[in-house]
Point group: C3
Chain length 347, copies 3
């Protein structure tokens, strides 16, 4: 095993990394977590700078990256895209308000050590996939690592925090059952990125994976293909079903959250079809993670959600605020997993 | 005396702290001030993080906390509430735009070392007291100290900077006369927090306290009760009067600033009564701190104001920009007092 | 030569500094650049604070100052003017939304070590020169150094990064030809600050200076006078012409960018004359830096632009993204030059 194959790469999706590389990441994250607990110095990025470009709101992501950089001895800039001449794809820039991403990326590359970006949804006129195009455009022009803080395709830092949380609780993952289930939410436009990234990473660890959703909420075929390829290589299994009860049965982990339906989004449609999204979602308000469904899972099962969540819709208070909930462990692990990502990429 | 009864507590009002605890704070603040002057390192919060959640604008508070954290070796996040999914009281969250404070507080608790909050007025739909409810809700759910950066009830960090300034100038406070006077301002909606906190803290130090305001500008009965209890215990006196001249007579300290009239605010009224506020205020434009009134005070008297102020309304330029003004000493002491608060709470 | 004549001064225009002082700055900048390259610690401003007050958007300026402070061991606050009670000139403040600059400046002086300000254009109601008034007002009241991050008159940090870039490429500047040329842009309101500052600094180093622009785009007479005085003292030459081809001929450096026409701005006019600006600009769309014009310059000539730029208007892609472009070296040197400015002023 080569000690370091991470340095100076981009981190846009875990699909670009081998299982061994992800295990390296988890090892570093666990050590950083313990160091944080004990107050042991770990200035791996002393005086270094991460530029965080936010096109969307953020609580967990921003604060874990910013506090993480402080803990590593460096500093993260919170850059609201409106305040830095909105970095735009080729052909989309407007005089006085925006700048080509090529220029933003090449400029920041000269001044610091990493560029992290969050971009999806409203920030790209509700065109699905354009957030990832923004990410790729930054990566194309940046000389320093680009880190995906969530686009419309992926949320790899969430994925790593999720698998770290699961491993903390289950130890060896071989043969353990993880359910990734759609759930109803009044907000019908949540990205698929969390579900994509959870399955993309969990499929590298030999788990028994179940994806559950009503018809219409299919994940992207490219990701499903990637998941199947991982399972073929690393063992475990992967099933898709449209029955939330059946999915939860005997699960070790229940990850239930809402995501949107791609067939109502450009480029499939001409413009975002809000009423189509609403009608489809409204037919499935019974997709909620409640005590009864957790009762179908193993006694030791726990519940995951990336937050923010719609209580009483995606999940009942009894579950998310109850003893089986691991959502704040998950939130905390954002910090440790991302510190590992930064430490590995930005040295 | 126990060395440390501060660690990991919240700092929402000084009424929760004993005189001895506040003296400990003042001692630490004085030492930090001297260290700052001499450039002596004082990394008491090395690599630690303060999350500053701002619902309202801020110059002094934000910059003193943020520079303070830098000076202590850590870092403070400037969090505009709009950018972090607005943290909302139970029942007030809206899909896609807000998140329950319970979740915000529990998340941030996992990533850093303190949460500071400013919330009042427009941020809580002009409902008086709801800013403090937000504060209390954060405190309820946070595992790390919550620091009040001003709500509709209290501004304890201002209070500590104020008493620090007064002590620097007067030494022993026993028997010295402090006037807290209302003054007219075109903005009729300023919180009562500064007056509340000044009296809450000064009443612990045996001062002769005078509160002066026109009828209609009464402070909250709960605070007045707290002040009277302090005076009963720690000596000094407390008088309320509606004559600004009489109040200023022979004073050591004149603190004159505007605050709002609670009877025009919800929950007392159905909605904020702007014209009622205006009419009441307009009847008292002569409540201004000018040279004549400073002349009624002791020759050595000085003028305090928390800033920002309405010159020519609350106070004349001759006074606030003259030799008796201590307002920038006050502003500076925000830095030192708050560094002491953070050092004591967040170790 | 006195080692240090920089400490605690303001940096509003390089016209206030001698050639020797600017050479000191360039020497420090070069050393800091090498230290950055080698990862050698240079904590010249350990735990110190720079307050950055932005009235306008910024990518390069903000990030180079903020990353620069991190690299120097301190921290820079990003202060959106709207969030700190907009600091206002005397007579322009509004209740609840703004504060007199005198108070902002005196307050910040008590808490940190430098105040940097960007202010022009829309931020001052499109009144030309008022951005500089804001800067001067801060300088008048601040006890700590005030650094110009661009106003309507000057952009001295850009000027120092520019001359640093030119020196890196040319070595001795005596007798080398620099063209500062106007170019067309759809945005007709760009400040003159960059052209002003480039000529103000280059004229201290004995260069052969050519300023080229169509009639109507004259630089301010005060700056032209300063440039001529510098040339008289330090050698070289200064010519103004209205022929971009002729200007480029045999040049070592071609700096072509757009700026506005002052005769359409208040205080010359009653209000900003947008259509006058548009009409004047539209007559000169052929003022573009393209391959043909770079061909008129020396073979070794390079192209400069402060960014952001309007490709296909100010400059062709072939030039700005081609081998003769030095614009990202320029952008990088913002970091090193400003770190030198801060290190010299804020110790």
């Amino acid at each position: 095993m080569k000690t370091d194959t991470w340095k100076n790469r981009d981190f846009i999706t875990t699909l670009d990394y081998t299982r061994q590389e992800l295990e390296t990441l988890l090892g570093v994250a666990a050590e950083l977590k313990q160091d944080f607990l004990l107050g042991k110095p770990h200035d791996h990025l002393l005086r270094k700078t991460l530029f965080m470009v936010f096109y969307n709101a953020s609580l967990r992501t921003r604060n874990s990256f910013e506090a993480g950089m402080t803990q590593l001895g460096g500093h993260a800039h919170f850059l609201d895209q409106e305040k830095i001449y909105s970095p735009a794809l080729p052909g989309q820039q407007a005089a006085r308000h925006s700048e080509e991403i090529a220029d933003t990326a090449r400029t920041l590359s000269r001044m610091g050590h990493g560029i992290a970006i969050r971009c999806f949804g409203s920030a790209v006129s509700w065109v699905w996939g354009m957030g990832n195009q923004v990410m790729q455009e930054f990566a194309k022009w940046s000389d320093i690592p680009v880190i995906n803080m969530e686009d419309d395709w992926y949320h790899p830092c969430q994925g790593m925090a999720d698998i770290m949380t699961i491993k903390e609780k289950l130890g060896d993952l071989q043969g353990r059952k993880l359910v990734m289930s759609w759930a109803y939410a009044p907000d019908t436009k949540k990205p698929l990125s969390v579900a994509h990234s959870m399955l993309a990473v969990a499929s590298k660890f030999g788990m028994e994976l179940v994806l559950a959703h009503p018809a219409g909420y299919e994940l992207h075929p490219t990701v499903l293909e990637g998941v199947r390829a991982n399972v073929a290589r690393h063992g475990g299994s992967f099933q898709i079903m449209d029955d939330m009860d059946e999915a939860c049965r005997n699960a070790d982990v229940v990850y239930a959250k809402s995501w949107t339906a791609l067939q109502y989004w450009p480029p499939t449609t001409d413009k975002l079809d809000d009423s189509g999204l609403q009608a489809l979602a409204d037919g499935h308000k019974d997709w909620i993670c409640d005590g009864r469904r957790m009762g179908l899972a193993k006694k030791s099962a726990f519940y995951l959600h990336c937050l923010p969540c719609n209580r009483d819709h995606e999940v009942t208070r009894e579950v998310i605020d109850g003893p089986q909930s691991a959502v704040f462990d998950q939130a905390e692990n954002r910090l440790h997993a991302q510190k590992a990502v930064m430490s590995l990429l930005m040295r």
